[in-house]
């Protein structure tokens, strides 16, 4: 590992992407991801990479589609309203089986909302987001270090399964500074010459990338193949973290990303009062760690989901727990973040 540096999440994920060999980046400015696009604008030319500020998020994601089709490591970033605009392209990238990384530094919504951190794009991120029968692997960091670590991880998953991968940060993680270390070595890019455009191995090796299948039976077969890949992703890539699990806690907290940081502090604070809480933090939001949440909820009196939204992941928690015990929700809209004291008192209310 290299030396520790103090960086904003937006910069750390950008630096990690470059270190991981990403040399193509296309994006459109939007707060609170500005540091990311600006970092790329500064650094890409220094490594002979491509930085291009697109005319819109729609154009940016289609530039990503083009570069991905040529088999290079390519990334874009945006924030909630911009990600909405990218959904058409993400659907095409998923359908065309192309690897690409999308960083979403989410903000308050709906509409123009605000620029404060929110987790209200969980549904959009984990349910495909665009049109059609597809999913996108979604990684949810809860520290700046993890935000950075997820860049190479996202490229690896994208290339292994030929899929777009989203890193779902938020305005808090993007803007806050924390010490971060970058590894010395990164996973090499998987050889794309089997499918990439402009990469003929023999004169007749013509490559076509397409998402149009007029014959319903062919589209059915293609979609089923895609879902077989999703089964592999579920099997191999589901990630989560548990905390204070062996404490004999009667209550389980489920939270991801920034909300999980606040939840962790609440677990520690209540422990001092003699109240034990177990915590599970999904790291992949799709595939969702349903089995792990179900396992963690076993024998608990109550499961409490904490989110910076009006309640989106809580639906997955309910699917996981499947009526085994009550699932409660603590959430906040508008980009208002819980204070540690506040979350402690809200949890206390739920368990008293």
């Amino acid at each position: 590992m290299g030396k520790k540096v103090l960086m904003k999440g937006n910069e750390a994920v950008a630096e990690a992407a470059i270190l991981a060999g990403c040399r193509h980046y296309f994006a459109y400015p939007i707060t609170p991801q500005s540091e990311l696009i600006e970092y790329m604008a500064k650094k890409m030319p220094l490594v002979d990479g491509t930085f291009l500020q697109a005319e819109s998020e729609v154009a940016a994601i289609n530039m990503v589609l083009g570069a991905a089709a040529c088999g290079v490591r390519v990334m874009t970033s945006s924030s909630s309203p911009g990600i909405s605009l990218k959904q058409e392209g993400i659907s095409y990238i998923a359908a065309s089986r192309l690897p690409a990384v999308i960083v979403n530094v989410t903000r308050g919504g709906p509409g123009l909302g605000n620029i404060a951190p929110m987790q209200c794009d969980y549904f959009q991120a984990t349910r495909g987001g665009g049109h059609g029968d597809y999913y996108t692997p979604v990684l949810s960091p809860s520290t700046v270090q993890e935000f950075a670590d997820m860049a190479p991880m996202a490229f690896e998953i994208a290339e292994k399964y030929l899929t777009p991968v989203m890193i779902l940060g938020d305005g808090m993680l993007g803007q806050m500074m924390e010490p971060v270390e970058f590894p010395d070595a990164y996973p090499p890019q998987k050889d794309p010459s089997e499918w990439a455009l402009g990469a003929r191995r023999t004169p007749d090796d013509r490559h076509i990338i397409n998402s149009l299948y007029i014959d319903p039976y062919v589209l059915q077969e293609k979609t089923e193949t895609l879902f077989k890949v999703y089964e592999e992703i579920k099997k191999n890539e589901t990630r989560f973290e548990t905390y204070n699990m062996d404490s004999g806690a009667k209550y389980l907290i489920v939270a991801h990303g920034t909300a999980a940081r606040v939840a962790k502090s609440a677990v520690d604070a209540l422990k001092e009062e003699g109240v034990e809480l177990a915590l599970i933090r999904p790291i992949t939001l799709w595939p969702y760690p349903y089995d792990a949440v179900a396992e963690a909820a076993k024998g608990k009196e109550k499961v409490i989901t904490i989110e910076l939204s009006m309640g989106q992941m809580v639906e997955d928690v309910k699917l996981a727990v499947c009526g085994e015990c009550p699932v409660e929700f603590i959430g906040k809209a508008g980009g208002v973040v819980f204070t540690p004291e506040e979350i402690v008192s809200l949890i206390r209310e739920k368990i008293s």
Binding site: V58, A68, N210
Partner: protein, 255 residues
């Protein structure tokens, strides 16, 4: 039977899916022949739009990708940036390029990406069944303009060559027609020149081809060509709107 000229290697053996009398086949052939003559089939990437030519990936012998409606110039940008050693062209109709993809078209042209945009203008949305396009003529009927295009309500036909030629950076902009053998030969020169410019890294080439849609216009192919000559050419005049590379070469010669 004597075959004077066989099928170009620039096209595959697949049977074209276009309506009888459609000029897409001609436009395809011009591009295929040009790729073959320039020896660039294997290093060219074509981009198929949404519209009748969505199936172009079946026909061009180069690598091809099919992309979202109107986004071809953005996809081409990403491709050319990823593989500057490849020739990238888009093949787009008027709805794709001049309505939903106007922003992508204008900005790719403004950056003068080293790509070629082939723009086939037949004043209608062919695939979806003859709706009004940005290039539909004043008074011309369409399924979404059943009483004829009222320009006071829906605007005047957009002239893309003229709009793009106001930009400083594009290299080459020309409007040609596919309405007669003589014009087709001229169109071929423009198509080949555009691809040659890209091979030489000269920046953006834009070739608009005036075409027809006998099916949706409700005319036989010959009548459609006549109609296009009488009605389209006055609004979409043919000619070279920009040729920076040629101008620069001339200037150099003068020096």
């Amino acid at each position: 039977m004597t075959v004077f000229k066989g099928r170009t290697k620039g096209l595959t053996d697949a049977k074209l899916s276009y309506c009888p009398g459609c000029l897409h086949g001609v436009a395809h052939r011009l591009i295929g022949e040009s790729m073959e003559e320039l020896g660039i089939i294997e290093k060219t990437i074509g981009i198929a739009p949404v519209g009748c030519s969505v199936f172009a990936y079946n026909f061009f012998a180069c690598d091809v990708i099919q992309v979202p409606h109107g986004r071809a110039p953005a996809v081409a940008t990403g491709m050319h940036r990823a593989r500057p050693d490849r020739i990238v062209f888009t093949y787009q109709g008027d709805g794709d390029l001049a309505a939903i993809g106007t922003a992508e078209t204008i900005h790719a042209a403004n950056r003068s990406e080293n790509i070629t945009i082939f723009f086939v203008n037949n004043a209608t949305y062919g695939m979806t069944g003859g709706q009004m396009a940005p290039t539909t003529l004043p008074g011309m009927k369409a399924t979404t303009a059943p009483y004829g295009r009222d320009v006071s309500d829906t605007g005047f036909p957009m002239r893309l060559c003229e709009i793009l030629s106001q930009l400083e950076m594009p290299n080459y902009i020309e409007r040609v027609s596919l309405l007669s053998p003589k014009e087709i030969l001229k169109a071929k020169k423009a198509v080949k020149k555009a691809l040659q410019y890209n091979t030489d890294g000269k920046g953006l080439s834009f070739v608009e081809m005036i075409s027809t849609c006998p099916t949706n216009w409700g005319m036989d192919p010959l009548k459609a060509r006549e109609w296009a000559r009488e009605n389209m050419l006055p609004i979409f005049p043919l000619g070279v709107f920009k040729d920076r590379a040629a101008e620069e070469a001339k200037e150099k010669e003068a020096e």
